[in-house]
């Protein structure tokens, strides 16, 4: 098997807070093959975005390892850190705050090239132009400011900036959740097209199940900083195993009148990620919870490529 572009082993990211350690990402392990997309889903505050930001070194990881093309990039500084960051870029959720309001579109897209210091002025001009064309921004908008553009175009600018340094891996941090549905499809198709043309590898963070189904090869479901279920996109929608995944999928509205949605409504609130207890973090809200769930959980491969972290997975299904 070829070396995966991204491999993450037991990655942890804790934030110190006045009340204790906030376990934003707790022991996450996965790999993403070249040209594939890993969807990461979960409710707000479950650590999806933090996971993405930690992998691309916007946050420093607390524990665990990150490999880029088989090379350990967990602890880097100086030149090596810059080289690794160039290979790993990010597209943000809010296309307004992710662009400098006082810079033209042209100078925003141009900036990564200028900062890298590798290109001559002429090369930068050419590259900027081809990037704009690639993401479909009109020539006439080059000198516009972000506030003059709509959300979809702004997001395209963000994508062009992320692509400028020819990265291999891109974290898409809810790139369409701030957009109108009609624009969402355009941006998703653009991302897919770019992936095919350039062999990009994506980690696609979202809470929108229909979006993740559309774009992902594999999906991981996160709950309070931990991966509770991980398998191929198809399998997840057909055969969800973890009680949380089931509840999540049951919340997708059904358009089939013969098969109306049977919503599993979760009780209670998401528990605090500060100093969590050992054991299944979903136990407090899980309809199937027993005493055993309060013990530390192990990830189990229930069928090839389908991992579930639940001690009662066989009894529940």
């Amino acid at each position: 098997m070829a070396t995966p572009v991204i491999e993450v082993q037991h990655l942890k990211k804790y934030f110190p807070t006045p009340r204790g350690m906030l376990h934003a990402v707790d022991d996450v392990t996965f790999t993403i093959e070249k040209g594939k997309t890993l969807g990461v889903v979960g409710e707000s505050g479950c650590g999806k975005s933090t996971l993405g930001r930690t992998i691309i070194h916007l946050h420093e990881s607390t524990e665990g390892k990150i490999f880029l093309n088989g090379k350990d990039v967990t602890r880097l500084a100086g030149k090596n850190l810059k080289a690794a960051r160039e290979k790993m870029q990010i597209v943000f959720q809010d296309p307004y705050s992710s662009l400098d309001p006082r810079k033209t579109i042209d100078s925003t897209v141009r900036e990564p090239l200028v900062v890298s210091g590798r290109y001559s002025k002429k090369e930068i001009d050419e590259k900027t132009e081809s990037l704009m064309e690639l993401v479909g921004i009109d020539e006439r908008l080059r000198m516009a400011y972000p506030h003059e553009l709509d959300g979809g175009r702004r997001q395209r600018v963000g994508i062009a900036r992320a692509l400028a340094l020819e990265p291999e891996f891109i974290v898409c941090d809810e790139p369409v959740s701030a957009l109108d549905v009609s624009i969402q499809a355009q941006v998703l198709n653009l991302l897919k097209k770019l992936q095919m043309e350039k062999g990009l590898t994506y980690m696609f963070v979202t809470h929108d199940m229909s979006v993740v189904r559309h774009i992902s090869d594999d999906i991981c479901v996160m709950y309070l900083g931990q991966v509770v279920e991980k398998c191929s996109s198809k399998e997840l929608f057909q055969k969800p195993m973890h009680p949380y995944t089931k509840a999540l999928l049951s919340a997708i509205p059904s358009t089939d009148i013969h098969n109306p949605m049977k919503r599993e409504i979760l009780k209670g609130e998401i528990t605090s990620p500060v100093n969590p207890k050992p054991g299944c973090r979903f136990a407090a809200r899980c309809p199937h919870a027993t005493e055993a769930c309060l013990q530390p959980q192990r990830q189990e491969e229930v069928s090839p490529g389908h991992f579930v972290t639940c001690c009662r997975v066989h009894e529940v299904n």
Binding site: R53, L58, Q89, S98, D106, V115, M143
Partner: protein
Amino acid sequence: MAEVKAKKKSEVVRVLRQLSKNKLAVLGGIIFFIEVIVAILAPVIAPYDHTAMDLMNINAGPSAAHWFGCDDLGRDIFSRIIIGSRYSITIGICAIAIATVIGCAIGAVAGYYGGWVDNIIMRILDVIQAIPGMLLMIVAAAMLGPGFLNTIMAMSIGTIPGMARMLRAQMLKERGNEYIEAETSINCSTFRIILSHLLPNCMSPIIVQATMGVGQTITLAAGLSFLGLGVQPPAPEWGAMLSNARAFMRTAPHLVIFPGLAIAVTVLALNLLGDGLRDALDPKLKN
């Protein structure tokens, strides 16, 4: 690149256009502009030598020969006010320029790094701000000794904390935006992020504060000179002229009125301009 420059210029044009809609701000701008021209051309414009004494005209009221009258040594007040504008306006602009540069540097560091760096800087500024502004300037002027340059120094020391605080607050607000993370991920250096992205986005309130600050500094400098700690005679700084004239306030009120008017008009003009700038720079009012 020519296009980029053209667009950048249009941002300035936009602010000026917005500003031109505000009649009072335009008035303030014109008055201040004229004063600056007068200050530059002062020796040419002034009808008399500002130190020349005419003992026949001691405390003489306004007349055709001496428009604003003469002071207690028979010097032409009109000439002295014109020459004095050089001192007052230079003190105002230089003190604010120094305070803005230093204040912004301090505020930028505090706001960007946060944590203990921010804490230490802010506590030091707290201590400085705990002392009343005028008192601080008096102490600074007393320690440095009176004089033109020292007055500028004293003025800027008093203004730095306010500037630093304001920029820090702006920085904290701007720093949370995702574009800062984006800059980090494309390997922008901290220096570049602060200078080329954060500062331009934080400048509007600073520009306004600086404009109004020039007026306030002129008043404060006049106060300092009034106390004898600012610019020393025979230099005709407006505050010094007031200070000198207070003994004759009853017998020759024009000695007080004209320098006082000069200060009031300048400060008023700058406040009007500053008010207008605040509105013009507000992106929410973009047309």
